[in-house]
Symmetry: C2
Subunit: 349 residues, 2 copies
Amino acid sequence: MKKEVRIVIDTIGGDNGAEVCVNGAIEGLKQHPEVHIILTGHEEEINKYLEGKEYDKNRLEIINTTEEISLNEPPVKAVREKKDSSLVVGMNQVKEGKADAFISAGCSGAILAGGTFIIGRSKGVKRAPLAPLLPTTKTPALLIDCGANVDAKPEVLVQFAQIGSIYMQKICGVKNPRVAIVNIGLEEEKGNALVKSTYPLLKACKSINFIGSIESREIPNGKADVILTEAFVGNVILKLYEGLAKMLLGEIKGAIMSSLKSKIGGLFIKSSLKGLKSRFSASEYGGAPLLGLNGLVVKIHGNSKEGEVISAIRQCLTFVDQDVNGLIAKGLADEVAEESLEASANAAE
Amino acid sequence: MKKEVRIVIDTIGGDNGAEVCVNGAIEGLKQHPEVHIILTGHEEEINKYLEGKEYDKNRLEIINTTEEISLNEPPVKAVREKKDSSLVVGMNQVKEGKADAFISAGCSGAILAGGTFIIGRSKGVKRAPLAPLLPTTKTPALLIDCGANVDAKPEVLVQFAQIGSIYMQKICGVKNPRVAIVNIGLEEEKGNALVKSTYPLLKACKSINFIGSIESREIPNGKADVILTEAFVGNVILKLYEGLAKMLLGEIKGAIMSSLKSKIGGLFIKSSLKGLKSRFSASEYGGAPLLGLNGLVVKIHGNSKEGEVISAIRQCLTFVDQDVNGLIAKGLADEVAEESLEASANAAE
């Protein structure tokens, strides 16, 4: 039998309340016999949704918490002060080794702050990036970083490129992943101050397959496997991807419903369009991992439904199985070792 | 009869060569009797495409130019040195009052550099923003700035908000246009350093209707009329909009073509989808104006076809008719006057 994997699910903070978390947990337990789930949040409410459902009671536990972190409070302060919130209690489970992974649909800022201040970064990791997968016409691409590291430094971006490459190689099985930096033109001299100072560092970085700049219009075409950018731009790309895909698919539905003739046509293409919609739906890809920590943290979308929770559980199993954070820590350490070896060799010459 | 409007079309630099410019010019002449077109570029090539076509020869002239500005050269240097390029010669026509407007599908950098250094900014304008309209589920929104002003200062962004408001009010007929700044969250304390320092200035600016932050996922829903952002992020938004819409519409086509059943369904919804496609096509909205100059400059997409050229001609007529740059200059001057009046009033108190 496989090793037990213990996953905390934060039931507070998502737009759809505790119900989707509870239902996702029950389904996760059914699908994966090695999973043990810990739900943090309001015990009474959780029990209400568990009532009458069938699940293995030995593999599900509840930790009652009394505080809530809201979207409107400064995240670092909230994480420091609200010790009995579902997020802080859940992350402490990971910190203390009582759980392997933490899943939340709560406020990004608090998840990022908690990941860094409670669980902590792996040795050698400068900042922890939030890195979701984006659908493309080819294989999905990793967008790194969409987190809270706004106004990042060039060295941090280079490390994100390394972390993203390790992730795509080890978790997604992409050989020699192509890394590109988001830019407003393809030429090396293009860009803002940050891109201009990061570009030569990426070019010089031997451990990644840097293919140069990428304009955002090429992202959906799968031109790169690791889409590198600082968090502000990453956040804009991620949310525009979601918003525009949702809007366009909605408009298409509207176009189909606009006449009797097109309604009939719509019936014929329904199943083909459904496949497309699911490719662009968040539930397909699970959540965005916060990488480079001493434990797994997966941020799922605020409006996640049961499907996203189930995908995130599956994702955590892969992460534990592949030891993603261990690989990142090791990968970065190897590079440092190689660099210093090279430096000594150069010094000796 | 309406006053003659003289428009230069730069036939060099677009992906589809001089042919689309020539065809667009001929169609523009047909549709608008008040238009006079000046084509700059290789006379021999232009004549090749004009041959056998019917048009009013008194309203079309050619200025032969011998140099070309390529994508790979630094734009400011190119504009300064290549005096006999189609772009520089064309812009000089505007500068010297021999033409009212300049249209080009050439390199953005060179168009922006030429706009500033050859035609020049209107009095009071700190930087000239490139501001295309984006399709939304409601009325189109103005994305300002997508130009070359990367790493912009907060004061410049505030002026872009004012310029964008004047544009939406006077040209697009939007009353009290809602201005929002692109951000990674809705709360005032969210954002990178630039957004955080610009936000309070926008709040204090009386001449605009500032509604706060906008997350990129809300842009397609028409939540704001003026989408304010610095040029790097603006460029990313614009190109992702294009790339993602193109990709999604392509995937839908693929889904329809995937089976006989869905192919039949596709025939029924063809006309409805066509309407949607045209709403998202660049040709519908014409080009992006470079605002705040002493003359009109419209940048059309590099891969523009005849339709975009025709739309850009129509757009120039509206701009001339409404005196967009005059209104911007006047609007900004009025504000300065009002502010200094207020300042003196305050000082007198």
